[in-house]
């Protein structure tokens, strides 16, 4: 026999102005099954909650309906109140007569009628609610960080310093990411590697961080607190345990002219190589596509073409037979920190983008991008820190910088702003002018976006103190004319065409997520936008979480980010994870699906349609161990309560706790009267 308590809130004037709460309470009191019905000015207040608690005790209520604001606001509040009065919290629900009624209607009579209907609707449901217990699942308190750039490094250090184990996976031979390629960072002009490498070493030496460099995530399964990940450790062809990083192998390698990825194509490296001297781990990798030994092997030549590195290695660490290995582990949370790549202006593009034919499609040697300029300016770079032209190695006296290449260009496929370019172009002009005192730096821009702390001052310094010339206008085309690159621009502020014969042109190209991000996102079941950027759970209030519980994001994989942003996001993600790991068990709402094994026919349509992979299979055997049937079973830890299985099941064997068919039909019928 139902004894439901109905409590109608005025919410001050929010509801009371439009809905006659007293009338709602009066009409509800006449409903069969309603044992108590009253209205009050502020139900969420202490006295309001006390009314509920008293009514539960005095009238021995079997369920509570609070007709007030949205459950998003106060469901927790009222459930806590019921719980403290001894009533199972899941026997308490709210009818939204504010957002769904008083806030959207004007006519008092009809709004009140609707409020009555809305409350009746919920009462019929709650009559059929059953007590539910919070689900508790164990948490594996180890984190996986995917990506070893500054964001991944920061997240790993914060989680490890917080006392938890971290596995850091990085696909390149060394951690450090793009930050390790930069010469100096804005707005302080700190040497990038000087501030980064101590962190890299800290990661390597940290007792709670397991660094898996030259590795990639192969498979992910499971759910928050209980992920199983399979990681592919790619074959370096060098035994990590034997190598001591002496570098002798690289000195004797006969293949010396491979375009260096670290130097953004401007420098050369050997086939067995360490990407840069401060690499962590300082263990080389053999680039099998370019190594003479492996190329000969691929051609089927019997005699080994080369084995110089192996011969030279005093510790016998070179192992041509090495193969990829796999490591499987359980983690409780995952941070995606895969960073960015730069858009290229070339002719070959993914389907959604176009290249810049008007700038030469990347075929003009003295037209380079921002990362390439960073390598020129770096002391560890291919020119020893001298700004020199790729075509003839001469020092350029006139450098032109173009902002917004790809960015803010819907016709080319990228409508967004890449955030960091205005700042690094200002920085580039300063680096150039510091090194070439009689050089001219011209920047073609549309706007200057310098919103960070000290950023505006930094740009002004470039213009006022270091003599950078800023011209507002986008460049129509670049053509090679003998020794120079002709830049056809326009100064919109003075209204003059401006054609410059540049020695070097640097393009500030757009930031895009790393290649392969879509495949990784699908493995993790996280959503991403049309550009590949991972979607945050809420753009304002939940910037480091995704809609997949247990998967967090940090850095440029989510949107164009600068280093302070990336570090802040990484620490934020770490704090979320440490919060998650602060309990041994994870609490989840019990409004999940449940299969009645007696009714289940074992068709597994539910398994097919479940978007979260929450349906498992359970064998039912007799006492002798013979298999009787295989039925579906819902993993309460993974189920998100979407109800798709309930809608699909032909046998009506699976239903959402708290949202059974019986309840829903009862609600519908309540309105039909």
């Amino acid at each position: 026999m139902s004894r439901i308590g109905v409590f109608v809130c005025h919410c001050g004037e929010n509801i009371g102005r439009t809905v006659d709460a007293a009338r709602v309470a009066r009409e509800l009191s006449t409903l069969p099954g309603v044992a108590h019905s009253e209205d009050y000015k502020y139900m969420c207040s202490d006295p309001g909650q006390a009314l509920i608690k008293n009514a539960i005790a005095e009238k021995k209520l079997t369920g509570v309906v609070v007709a007030a604001c949205s459950p998003h606001m106060h469901e927790k509040t009222f459930r806590r109140a019921c719980s403290s009065a001894g009533l199972n919290p899941f026997l308490c629900e709210m009818a939204n007569i504010r957002e769904h009624c008083s806030w959207i209607h004007g006519e008092r009579e009809r709004a009140t009628d609707k409020a009555v209907d809305l409350t009746r609707f919920i009462v019929e449901k709650v009559k059929r609610n059953v007590p539910l217990e919070t689900i508790r699942i164990p948490v594996e308190r180890r984190a996986l960080v995917i990506g070893g750039g500054i964001a991944g490094i920061q997240a790993a250090l914060d989680i490890a310093d917080g006392g938890r184990e971290v596995v850091l996976v990085e696909k390149e031979p060394s951690i450090g990411g793009h930050m390790s390629q930069l010469s100096e960072t804005f707005p302080t002009l700190d040497c990038s590697q000087c501030i980064l490498t101590p962190r890299m070493v800290e990661v390597y030496q940290h007792p709670r961080i397991k660094l898996l460099a030259y590795s990639e995530v192969d498979e992910v399964s499971g759910y928050i607190g209980n992920f199983t990940v399979k990681i592919r450790r790619k074959a370096r062809s060098v035994d990590e345990n034997l190598c001591n990083g002496c570098g002798a192998c690289q000195k004797v390698c006969i293949v010396k002219k491979v375009a260096s990825e670290f130097d953004a194509g401007l420098g050369k490296r050997t086939a067995i190589y360490v990407p840069f001297p401060q690499a962590v781990p300082n263990i080389p990798v053999i680039d099998r596509a370019n190594c003479a030994h492996f190329k000969a092997k691929a051609k089927g030549l019997k005699k080994d073409a080369c084995g110089k590195c192996k011969e030279e290695c005093a510790r016998g660490a070179v192992d041509f037979e090495q193969v990829d290995t796999f490591v499987t582990m359980k983690v409780g949370a995952i941070v995606v920190a895969t960073g960015y790549q730069l858009y290229s202006i070339g002719k070959e593009q993914p389907a959604t983008l176009k290249g810049y034919g008007e700038y030469g499609y990347g075929t003009i040697p003295d037209v380079i991008d921002g990362l390439q300029f960073e390598r020129l300016a770096s002391a560890s770079g291919p020119t020893g820190g001298k700004i020199l032209r790729p075509s003839d190695g001469k020092e350029p006296k006139r450098v032109v910088f173009l902002q917004c290449i790809g960015s803010r260009d819907p016709e080319k496929g990228i409508e967004y702003c890449s955030k960091i370019c205005c700042m690094y172009v200002a920085k580039h002009t300063m680096l150039y002018r510091h090194k070439v005192h009689d050089g001219e730096a011209t920047v073609f821009y549309m706007d200057i976006r310098a919103g960070g702390k000290g950023y505006e001052e930094f740009v002004r310094r470039a213009i006022e103190e270091d003599g950078a010339r800023y011209v507002r206008g986008r460049v129509a085309r670049l053509v090679r004319d003998g020794d120079v690159v002709k830049v056809y621009g326009f100064d919109t502020l003075s209204g003059e065409p401006m054609v410059i014969d540049a020695d070097l042109v640097v393009l500030a190209t757009a930031m895009r997520p790393q290649p392969g991000i879509e495949a990784l996102a699908q493995k993790l079941s996280v959503s991403y936008d049309g550009h590949g950027f991972i979607n945050e759970a809420h753009p304002k209030l939940r910037p480091v979480e995704t809609n997949t519980a247990g998967v967090y994001i940090a850095g440029a994989c989510q949107a164009p980010r600068d280093i302070p942003d990336a570090v802040a996001m990484a620490s934020a993600a770490a704090s979320k994870i440490l919060g998650l790991f602060s309990q041994e068990m994870l609490e989840r709402e019990p409004t999940v699906a449940k299969v009645d094994a007696a009714l289940c026919a074992g068709c597994f349509h539910c398994e097919r349609v479940c978007p979260y992979g929450a349906v498992e299979r359970r064998e039912i055997r007799d006492r002798k161990g013979n298999l009787l049937k295989v039925v579906a079973e819902v993993n309460g830890g993974v189920c998100q309560g979407c109800g798709t299985c309930q809608a699909t099941c032909p046998s009506k064997a699976v239903e959402l706790q708290g949202f059974t068919d019986e309840q829903i039909f009862a609600q519908i019928n309540a309105l039909a009267i």
Binding site: K347, Y356, G357, E358, G360, Y361, R477, V479, R480, D481, K486
Partner: protein, 305 residues
């Protein structure tokens, strides 16, 4: 292959050699051209610069005639005519209200199914046939391919080559045996329809084009538009200073025709203002014999370790 043929007003007058060379060359490449009967002016620049409906209706009349005469595709050698016909086709297909207005103005049946082609695209498609039939390869001739504007822009109308880095004219030139040169002014406007109303602009723009071709070492500029040809050839004397060499301006079809061994007079090469005799002479000369391949002799050659 059979194509409808829309010569347009220029090819019957100031661009006469373009018409002559197009017909002769395509005939040699076994492309049959059937001129649209009773065609009228497409409206050129003056219509679209002043009256949108007129600028669509005038070309549409010709497309409707082509349809009625059983033609599926129409070749318009003049780049402006090509652009106007293709634009009319595109806009009528995209805008139902416009299609209705044009239908009532035309007062004749029109389903807008005739495709519009230009000479460069047709020649490029015929490159295999061209290579097979070359009689006088234009070896050693350096040609600056000048695309002008309307062959490539706007992209969704022209649609057959990259508007910033096209290769179709160079591909055709290479097939004739000549060498296309790299130069910077191949996409810059010649001054177009301002030829009469503001000749000084045409001279300024044309001079930059001719100078750049000269600097790139070209023997000739190849064009595929009678307006461009007129601006660069008819008006070249105003652009040239004393002591500067003249730059012959040839239609792509004339070049192809020369390589196919067609009589220069039939191609209209005598009608130019800047003489084409140097090119004709070059084509008449036999191709230089290929240099003998150097085969390394074992032991006998000097310098071998």
């Amino acid at each position: 292959m059979k194509l409808g043929y829309y010569p347009g007003c220029s090819l019957h007058a100031t661009g006469r050699e373009y018409g002559e060379s197009t017909v002769a060359t395509l005939r040699a490449l076994e492309v049959e051209l059937r001129e649209i009967d009773d065609w009228s002016c497409c409206g050129a620049t003056s219509a679209h610069a002043t009256n949108h409906l007129l600028s669509v209706a005038l070309p549409a009349r010709n497309l409707a005639l082509a349809e009625a005469q059983g033609l599926d595709e129409v070749l318009a050698p003049c780049a402006a005519c090509f652009s106007r016909l293709a634009t009319a086709r595109h806009e009528i297909a995209a805008d139902a209200a416009l299609a209705q207005r044009v239908a009532s103005v035309l007062d004749r049946p029109f389903t807008n199914h005739v495709a519009v082609r230009n000479v460069v695209d047709v020649l490029r498609a015929s490159i295999p046939a061209l290579k097979a039939k070359v009689m006088k390869p234009l070896a050693g001739m350096k040609v600056a391919c000048y695309y002008g504007c309307l062959l490539l822009r706007p992209t969704e109308i022209a649609g057959f080559d990259d508007p910033e880095a096209p290769t179709s004219m160079e591909d055709v030139v290479r097939a004739t045996g000549a060498t296309p040169v790299g130069w910077n002014m191949r996409l810059e406007c010649c001054g177009a329809a301002l030829s009469l109303a503001r000749t000084s602009s045409v001279v300024r723009l044309g001079r930059a084009i001719v100078e750049d071709a000269r600097r790139a070492g070209a023997d000739a500029i190849a064009v595929a538009c009678p307006m461009c040809h007129s601006n660069l050839d008819f008006r070249q004397s105003a652009m040239t200073r004393r002591g500067e060499a003249e730059m012959p301006v040839v239609y792509l079809t004339e070049l192809v025709g020369l390589a196919l061994g067609i009589d220069p007079a039939e191609l209209g090469l005598g009608r130019h203002f800047v003489s084409t005799s140097s090119l004709v002479a070059r084509a008449a000369a036999p191709p230089p014999a290929p240099a003998p391949a150097k085969v390394p002799q074992q032991g006998a050659a000097k310098g071998v370790a």
